[in-house]
């Protein structure tokens, strides 16, 4: 991101913090597709992507005034998205404990036509084999976040991020190629 776009992002964030709905709308338009990709990588369900992304942006709208450093908006937004996805998966898991699904209702496949290519299907299945936190890690890397930013998001060290990322990439590669074959 160049300096001018960082400045305009900073301006937008500051305007949104003052309650300017136009700026808030511009932020949503600018990030909706990226947050959708990030959310899909973690949850693996395209039919819940829009609902989760909406939750993320509603949280953003309500909390943006408390963001101390407007230039940190992007990592902050992806941290919000990551936490929302992990909460969603946790709630789903809890719901399954209290309302057990019949075997035929477990792992319901994506609606027909939802996954239209084999390579996407293979990636989706490979991601599903990883832990949600590892999926979030890989999705953050795909989003272009630096190791330092990811370390900040996960509240850990850069060295730990590198090690976990290496393991997650290896696992993903193994599952991806075994699904492809």
């Amino acid at each position: 991101m160049d300096e001018s776009s960082t400045t305009s992002l900073g301006d937008r964030v500051r305007r949104a913090q003052r309650g300017d709905e136009v700026a808030l709308r511009e932020l949503i338009v600018a990030y909706q597709h990226r947050v959708a990709g990030f959310t899909y990588a973690i949850t693996g369900r395209s039919d819940s992507v829009e609902d989760i992304v909406q939750m993320v942006f509603v949280k953003m709208a309500r909390a943006i005034a408390r963001l101390k450093a407007p230039e940190q908006f992007e990592p902050w937004l992806f941290r919000l998205a990551r936490n929302t996805c992990i909460d969603h998966l946790r709630r789903q898991k809890l719901r399954r404990i209290f309302i057990p699904f019949a075997p035929e209702h477990e792992n319901v496949p994506e609606p027909s036509g939802a996954v239209d290519t084999e390579e996407l299907d293979a990636l989706r299945h490979a991601l599903a084999q990883l832990r949600p936190k590892d999926r979030a890690l890989l999705a953050l890397v795909q989003e272009g976040r630096s190791h330092a930013e990811i370390a900040e998001t996960f509240k850990t060290s850069v060295a730990a991020v590198k090690a976990r990322l290496h393991r997650a990439r290896e696992q993903l590669r193994q599952h991806y190629h075994s699904d492809e074959n």
Partner: protein, 90 residues
């Protein structure tokens, strides 16, 4: 690695296609709707807590002062009876 990157690209495109038109406006409406009930429910909760505390304090105070009054009246009654006995004895 290249095929994986291509698959990630497909994943992002597929996810982006799940966002229907008018999404930003729906988010803004939802954010507005979420903000007001929260404030109202927060204020209602504060008012209810304050009311419960006031009622509890009032009940406690009434009970304590009722007990004290009863003790005082009993004490004065006893003194009055003793005074009356003393008067009759004189």
């Amino acid at each position: 690695m290249k095929t994986e990157n291509h698959a990630w690209e497909r994943l992002r495109e597929h996810a982006a296609s799940q966002i229907s038109p008018g999404f930003p406006d729906r988010v803004l409406r939802a954010a507005r709707a979420a903000a007001s009930p929260l404030l109202i429910s927060h204020l209602a909760m504060c008012a209810a807590t304050a009311a419960v505390c006031l009622v509890a304090v009032a009940l406690y105070d009434a009970r304590i002062s009722g007990d004290e009054d009863a003790t005082n009246i009993a004490g004065w009654g006893e003194i009055a009876a003793q005074a009356s006995d003393l008067e009759q004895g004189l």
